[in-house]
């Protein structure tokens, strides 16, 4: 569990004091969630808020085990201080939505001015997005004030994530 949680916490800590906590540590048939009570969390140095949450399973790993964590879904969003979503990266394979693949939503907070992109049906396909990718976006695009070592931290944690990821491809 620490191999799963620790890198994600380090990544989030680059831009926030939020503490990620799981709903449990025991293997079970249904997924656990990793989230924070501080979400949506103020994004350092901005008037924006962000949220990250993942669902995960703890499964037996007969090869490198005894256990490993496998992600079952994620939701990463950034929104205005008024609560308007700017964008959200979603992967909700168990949702009722017919769109099960990873995708991006653009919200009214993005001020795109294109209703078709802001509509409920606009699932813009993406590859798998790691939490590190999202945190980097918050820093480089939304000018979140990170702690000094953020490049080193995100570089290390992202490398670890993609090393053990069973699907998806690391952005080049």
């Amino acid at each position: 569990m620490q191999n799963y949680m620790s890198p994600l916490q380090q990544a989030v800590a680059c831009v926030s004091k939020a503490v990620l906590r799981p709903t449990g540590y025991e293997p079970k048939a249904t997924a656990h969630m990793l989230s924070s009570q501080q979400m949506p969390s103020p994004l350092a140095n901005t008037d924006l808020y962000f949220d990250v949450a993942q669902w995960f399973y703890i499964i037996e790993d007969r090869l490198n085990g005894p256990w490993r964590v496998t992600t079952a879904g994620y939701q990463y969003t950034i929104e205005t201080g008024g609560g308007e979503e700017i964008l959200g990266y979603h992967w909700q394979p168990n949702s009722v939505s017919p769109f099960k693949d990873p995708h991006l939503h653009l919200g009214y907070g993005a001020q795109i001015g294109r209703p078709e992109l802001e509509s409920t049906k606009a699932h813009l396909p993406t590859g798998r997005v790691s939490m590190e990718d999202f945190i980097q976006l918050l820093i480089e695009v939304f000018d979140a004030s990170p702690h000094r070592d953020w490049r080193d931290v995100l570089g290390k944690t992202a490398k670890k994530f993609w090393q053990y990821a069973s699907w998806g491809r690391r952005p080049s």
Partner: protein, 73 residues
Amino acid sequence: MATIRPAAPTYSEEVAPLTESESAVIFERAVRRYLNMSSVEFLSHLDSGYFQGHPELERRLNSVLFYLPLVKR
């Protein structure tokens, strides 16, 4: 031959798991944030099929449904 299951993962004393009441708070916050209603109202609407008549809420609904297992453990 019986299958021997490994012991459960070690509990981390550093990060306590979210309790059911803490999870409920996160869910309540998500419902208010995305749909501007209480979780009680939301669950009632969900059971009554209210959202089927409001396709414009689909995206916000999906964002809330992402958190639903927090209160349906």
